[in-house]
């Protein structure tokens, strides 16, 4: 599969490239997973924040409603006052003032004409105005129910405040409305008491959309209307929503409506803060990933170097081998590269050895070829001297060359070392088709090149003679070629005996062939030879030193 891809035009790459790709293949999915996990965590974090915003808003509403209930209980307790029942307002003023103690509040009593009858913020008897919030008071008269007002500015105190108003029933008629005027700052304190982080802002907005209290910069915002858009969102929203607050900041906001007052109680956290926190998270995660990438890359580089360097050495070695250089084996950190380089080193040695051997063989061949040409030249000249006709010359010379070729063939097969004597005898008899009629006997004897060539000459002349005048000429003729030795004399004895051939007559003239068989070959192998012409068949005997035999079987 990789071969197929890289055969289709993609150029081969270095190992460093693949190591980089390998490292990326390992790290990229991990980095992807890490980013995914981090985002998941950030999401969970955001959900947690949203839940918290809702919790804070809900908890505030509970506190506010409890505060309003507390005010209601105080008012309802005062409503049972006997002083009030007797319209003894001075005593009731005294009683109400005591009930308030240190609260930032005032208690008012108004009649059906909405005229203040008493106000604990003013000394009893001081002339008092009509109530500033006739609407709520009128509603209490009408419904005979408790009501909580929106934000109003107190006529007497001049402060922003809200009124909790309860009816004072005489029979089935509401005769008075008893009011507790709570300073808006009381609600601010309530908001503050939550002890939230500074980036949290809580606030209370009344039914008209006017800010009653705010946890931050209360004084700046109290009495101001909530931006219409935000008011709309707050009224419509359930749960958490994103918005822009009155200070123009992006916020995450949850609004819960007070059951008693119908106010909107909001908890908000600045988006900028959330994002800063998320950015910090991102930064941290990025730093973590970056650090591990740098660390991992450094380690990967070191290990890759352990691999790439030795492989590059191996590559260089392979190129060097191509240039015929010798390669030293090295110890690198990579076992496979060591194996390759060792193999290359061995190959370079072997290559050098073979080159030297080839050069040696070439020299040897050139020498032998030229030497053999000198032999053939001598052979041609000698043959020419003893030939009566050109035909005779051609026939004898070609046969002698053929004989030389036979001997040489045997030696070439043995890498020019020499040849087995039995093979030599067989080859020269084969040239005359006579090996089947020959009896060849002797211990295995491997002769050196000099002996092979010279004894080959003698055998050739013997076979030539036998085919012309002797045993090979007649169909029933036999040739016995035997040898023995080396014996105690350190000599090898070889015999060529012909039988059942034509009657032998001692020749009157002794030609060059005779000289070869007797003297020349014998002298060349530092031996002696005899040739007897007995009537039964000729007998040739040669003895020569055993040093001509490279391998000889032991002969006991």
């Amino acid at each position: 599969m990789p071969e197929r891809v890289f055969n289709r035009g993609l150029p081969p790459q270095r190992i460093r490239t693949f190591l980089v790709l390998f490292a990326l293949a390992l790290t990229l999915p991990l980095i992807g997973l890490a980013v995914l996990a981090f985002n998941q965590l950030a999401g969970l974090d955001e959900e947690e924040t949203e839940r918290r915003v809702v919790q804070v808003a809900q908890s505030l509403v509970d506190d506010i409603d409890r505060e309003l209930d507390r005010a209601t209980i105080t008012l309802e307790t005062l409503a049972t006052s006997t002083a009030l029942a007797k319209d003894d307002f001075a005593a009731f003023h005294e009683q109400a003032s005591r009930a308030l103690r240190r609260d930032k509040a005032g208690i008012l009593l108004i009649d059906r004409s909405l005229q203040q009858l008493l106000n604990t913020r003013a000394a009893y008897g001081t002339p008092l105005p009509r109530t500033v919030d006739p609407e709520t008071a009128q509603r209490v008269f009408d419904t005979k129910q408790r009501h909580v007002s929106d934000l109003v500015i107190g006529v007497v105190s001049g402060q922003p405040l809200i009124n909790v108003e309860v009816p004072i029933l005489v029979g089935k008629e509401v005769r008075y409305v008893l009011i507790m005027a709570l300073d808006a700052t009381r609600f601010e304190q309530l908001l503050q008491s939550q002890r939230l982080d500074p980036q949290w802002i809580t606030g209370i907005t009344d039914n008209k959309g006017i800010i009653v209290a705010r946890s931050e910069r209360h004084a700046d915002f109290v009495g101001k209307p909530l931006p219409p858009e935000l008011l709309e969102q707050s009224r419509a929203a359930k749960g958490v929503f994103r918005a822009t607050n009155v200070a123009g900041q992006g916020i995450l906001r949850a609004t819960v409506r007070s059951q008693i007052a119908g106010w909107l109680v909001s908890a908000t956290v600045q988006v900028a803060h959330l994002e800063a926190s998320r950015r910090r998270g991102h930064l941290f995660a990025g730093a973590m990933i970056g650090t591990s990438l740098v660390l991992g890359a450094a380690l990967a580089y070191i290990f890759a170097t352990f691999m790439a360097r030795p492989l590059e050495r191996a590559t260089t070695s392979a190129i060097a081998i191509g240039l015929g250089k010798h390669i030293e084996p090295i110890k690198s950190p990579l076992a496979e590269a060591n194996t390759v380089i060792e193999a290359l080193s061995a190959a370079s040695l072997e290559l050098k050895r073979r080159q030297e051997h080839a050069a040696f063989l070439m020299g040897e061949l050139a020498h032998r070829a030229k030497n053999q040409l000198a032999v053939v030249k001598g052979m041609a000249l000698q043959t020419a001297r003893q030939s009566a006709t050109v035909d005779e010359l051609v026939e004898q010379l070609s046969q002698r060359i053929q004989g030389l070729a036979e001997s040489q063939d045997l030696m070439v097969r043995q890498n020019w070392q020499g040849a087995w004597l039995s093979d030599l005898v067989k080859a020269h008899l084969d040239l005359f088709g006579a090996s089947s009629r020959a009896q060849i006997e002797g211990p295995p004897l491997f002769l050196n090149a000099n002996a092979v060539q010279n004894i080959g000459f003698a055998l050739h002349e013997l076979a030539t003679n036998a085919s012309k005048y002797g045993a090979i000429k007649s169909p029933q003729g036999r040739v016995l070629v035997t040898w023995r030795g080396p014996g105690d004399d350190g000599r090898i004895h070889m015999d060529w005996v012909e039988r059942d051939g034509p009657l032998v007559q001692t020749p009157t003239r002794r030609g060059f062939g005779f000289l070869v068989m007797t003297d020349l070959v014998a002298q060349a192998v530092r031996g002696t030879a005899t040739l007897d012409f007995s009537p039964d068949g000729i007998h040739w005997h040669l003895e020569f030193p055993a040093s001509h035999a490279l391998v000889a079987a032991h002969n006991d």
Binding site: H367, K377, N450, N454, R510, L520, A524
Partner: protein, 156 residues
């Protein structure tokens, strides 16, 4: 000794082989010294008899006397000692443990007789070794009359 005397009279054998052609064998001229050079007594060291016979005939044509043909280094030293030739024509590659350079070295040192190496292509190392034995010259195989004459002229 038998062999040596046999080779000193090769003409008889050739006569026996083919009488007409051998009416004027080159060997017979060996007794008459060449006008240009004096007759030398030469020892041939060569283990191929076809080559040594040819060399011998060339020498005889040139009017020199072949005192023997040796086929090994040891034989060459033996013959040189006995025959005291004027010059040795030495083949470098010889059968046996010692080669022609060894033989030439010993003959020069012991007998003061110089050698001319007669060899086929020789590799540089062998040639270097051969030069170190202070030969009278080098001759390329196969020998020709001209080459041989030129080579021997230095030995005169």
């Amino acid at each position: 000794m038998d062999l040596l005397t046999a080779y000193s009279q090769p003409a008889k054998l050739w006569l026996a082989a083919s009488a007409e052609r051998d009416s004027k064998p080159p060997g017979e001229q060996g007794d008459q010294p060449d006008l240009e050079a004096r007759s030398l007594r030469v020892l041939i060291v060569e283990d191929e008899f076809f080559i040594s016979l040819h060399t011998k005939q060339l020498l005889q044509v040139l009017g020199h006397v072949v005192v023997g043909i040796a086929v090994s280094a040891d034989q060459a030293i033996l013959f040189a000692e006995r025959e005291r030739p004027d010059v040795v024509l030495m083949d470098i590659r010889l059968n046996g443990s010692r080669d022609g350079i060894d033989a030439a070295d010993e003959i020069r040192q012991r007998l003061g007789i110089g050698s001319i190496f007669v060899t086929a292509n020789t590799d540089p190392q062998t040639r270097q070794r051969a030069l170190a034995s202070q030969p009278l010259g080098f001759l390329e195989k196969p020998l020709t009359e001209r080459r041989l004459k030129f080579g021997l002229s230095k030995a005169v």
